[in-house]
């Protein structure tokens, strides 16, 4: 397993958003974590990144314990997060945002090559490379957030609600890109409210409800589960 969470309890103050969750992400796979608002999906991501410290439980990445490390150390281990709401640096240019994604790397040639790859994948970012991040549209900001995370050359890429607030055509583009990134060897853990799309591209899926994992399995099996169909896929099959 590339990433393993065992009985993680975590939260904010006295409120525990995660009440003992366990999940594993095999190397090379796409794993989706679906569930309603407030189920604890984003907290799971923040706990992996070290933004929230777990009260109990263990996080292991490549067999090594990860709990208690700071975000920059987690990035150093090989995990990058595309955060919820994109968190683009508004007052810095598109290109500066991308270069900051490669902050911990010092291989100039490799960084330049990866920058070119991002521009090839998202030509609109190259057109706007001198503009401030804050001037981009929502879809462009999402592309920038993904490009920026990829610039770190992570082994595991976490994506938190990448389709939120985007037009359907852009959503499709984003999911194509996620598949594409996975195809080039990066393992993906995806948190989504768009359960249908998330289950389509995933190998494995976990369903979360109020801080617990209530269902898990191969994505196709989870998608076929009647409860999931009723609750997350619009009821019709």
């Amino acid at each position: 397993m590339l990433l393993e969470l065992q009985n993680i309890v975590a939260g904010y103050g006295s409120i525990m958003a995660l009440k003992g969750i366990s999940l594993s992400v095999p190397e090379g796979s796409i794993v989706s974590l679906i569930g309603a608002n407030g189920a604890g999906k984003s907290t799971t991501m923040k706990t992996i990144m070290g933004l929230v410290s777990p009260r109990e439980g263990e996080i292991r990445f490549k067999g090594k314990p990860l709990a208690g490390t700071k975000p920059y150390q987690v990035v150093h281990e090989g995990i990058s997060l595309v955060p919820e709401g994109r968190q683009i640096l508004q007052n810095m240019s598109v290109e500066e945002n991308l270069y900051l994604g490669a902050y911990q790397r010092s291989d100039k040639g490799g960084i330049a090559a990866d920058l070119k790859k991002v521009y090839d994948r998202f030509p609109r970012l190259e057109e706007r490379k001198k503009q401030f991040g804050g001037t981009l549209s929502g879809g462009e900001q999402q592309m920038l957030a993904i490009g920026r995370a990829v610039m770190a050359r992570p082994e595991l890429l976490l994506l938190d609600e990448p389709s939120m607030g985007l037009a359907p055509i852009v959503v499709q583009e984003i999911f194509d890109v996620i598949k594409d990134i996975n195809g080039s060897g990066t393992t993906i853990l995806l948190v989504e409210q768009n359960a249908k799309k998330a289950l389509q591209i995933a190998d494995y899926a976990y369903v979360m409800e109020t801080g617990h994992i209530v269902l898990q399995g191969k994505a196709s099996e989870v998608a076929a589960n009647p409860q999931v169909t009723a609750a997350y896929l619009g009821g019709k099959k």
Binding site: M49, L51, K70, P71, Q87, Q90, Y99, L100, G101, Y103
Partner: protein, 293 residues
């Protein structure tokens, strides 16, 4: 007369600008006002003075020495007064109060070391005065103004062109995002406080040179002026702090020159109140962005 006063105002304003940039940098990464900045400015002036009088150093060597001393003070300020509070998730106001504590400590320490009397640099560049017809410029003014401008240019280059500078900007804009990008934000905060303090100390030497009056209480007045400039320029906006410094300097000098010498501070701060009345977010901040650099 007019041009002469403009030159004097630019000279004073350049020192204010360097002080205000120090406040701005710290405000950017920590969202607090560093109340000890004025006292670090005062220490810079004394360190420069000691290097010139006791060690016989050249004024530029003294300036660099003061900046190094300021950086060391900044390191301890961050390590002892700010970092422990950050670890413990206390209220937002706690670090503000702890910097006030540091400022009182530094002022008392300076009184103990150097005594309460006003001291001054031995005359530098004596008699060198350039006459350009409309106005006269002394060598001290040229050196002071020139040094301030060089410092501002170097700082701008550092922030815009270097990796660590970009990390400072990213940390200022959103510390959580900066961490997620792999930036060790704690180290960036230490670096920023040291950088800001070294600029404050440099301003101390410049002001000490221009006004020939160095005393342990000079930090307080200067600190408040830097603070006013910080707010006038738009909290956390570096260009705003530069421009604000010049506006305050020129306003002060003109109010003295045109007959209101005893109202000099009142006129200067009156202008700031007027500016804030019409632009409460500060002169140079982009509305709606919280005035970040």
């Amino acid at each position: 007369m007019f041009f002469q006063q403009l030159i004097n105002g630019l000279n004073l304003g350049s020192a204010y600008a360097v002080i205000a940039i120090g406040y701005t940098l710290v405000f950017g990464v920590l969202n607090i006002i560093n109340m000890a900045h004025g006292e670090i400015f005062m220490f810079g002036a004394f360190i420069g003075l000691m290097l010139v009088t006791a060690a016989g150093a050249n004024i530029f060597v003294a300036l660099i020495g003061a900046m190094l001393g300021g950086a060391v003070l900044g390191f301890f300020l961050e390590y002892l007064a700010l970092r422990p509070l950050r670890r413990r998730k206390v209220t937002h106001l706690a670090p503000l109060i702890s910097t006030i504590g540091v400022s009182i400590f530094l002022e008392s320490l300076a009184l103990k070391i150097w005594g309460p009397q006003t001291q001054s640099f031995p005359p530098q560049f004596e008699g060198a005065l350039m006459n350009a017809g409309l106005f006269k410029v002394s060598m001290i003014q040229i050196v002071g103004f020139g040094t301030a401008i060089v410092l501002m240019v170097l700082l701008t280059l550092l922030l815009d062109k270097t990796k660590i500078g970009k990390a400072v900007k990213a940390t200022s804009e959103n510390i959580e995002t900066a961490g997620l990008l792999g930036i060790n934000t704690s180290r960036i905060i230490t670096f920023t406080v040291m950088l800001a303090s070294s600029l404050g100390a440099a301003a101390g030497v410049l002001v000490g040179l221009s006004f020939n009056a160095i005393e342990p209480t000079m930090g307080m007045t200067m600190g408040f002026k830097g603070l006013a400039v910080l707010i006038m320029g738009g909290l956390g906006n570096i260009r705003g702090a530069m421009m604000g410094g010049f506006i305050l300097g020129i306003a002060e000098v003109f109010s003295v020159a045109y007959g209101a010498s005893s109202y000099r501070d009142a006129v200067a701060f009156g202008i700031i109140i007027l500016i804030l009345f019409f632009r409460p977010e500060g002169l140079f901040s982009k509305a709606g962005k919280g005035g970040r650099p």
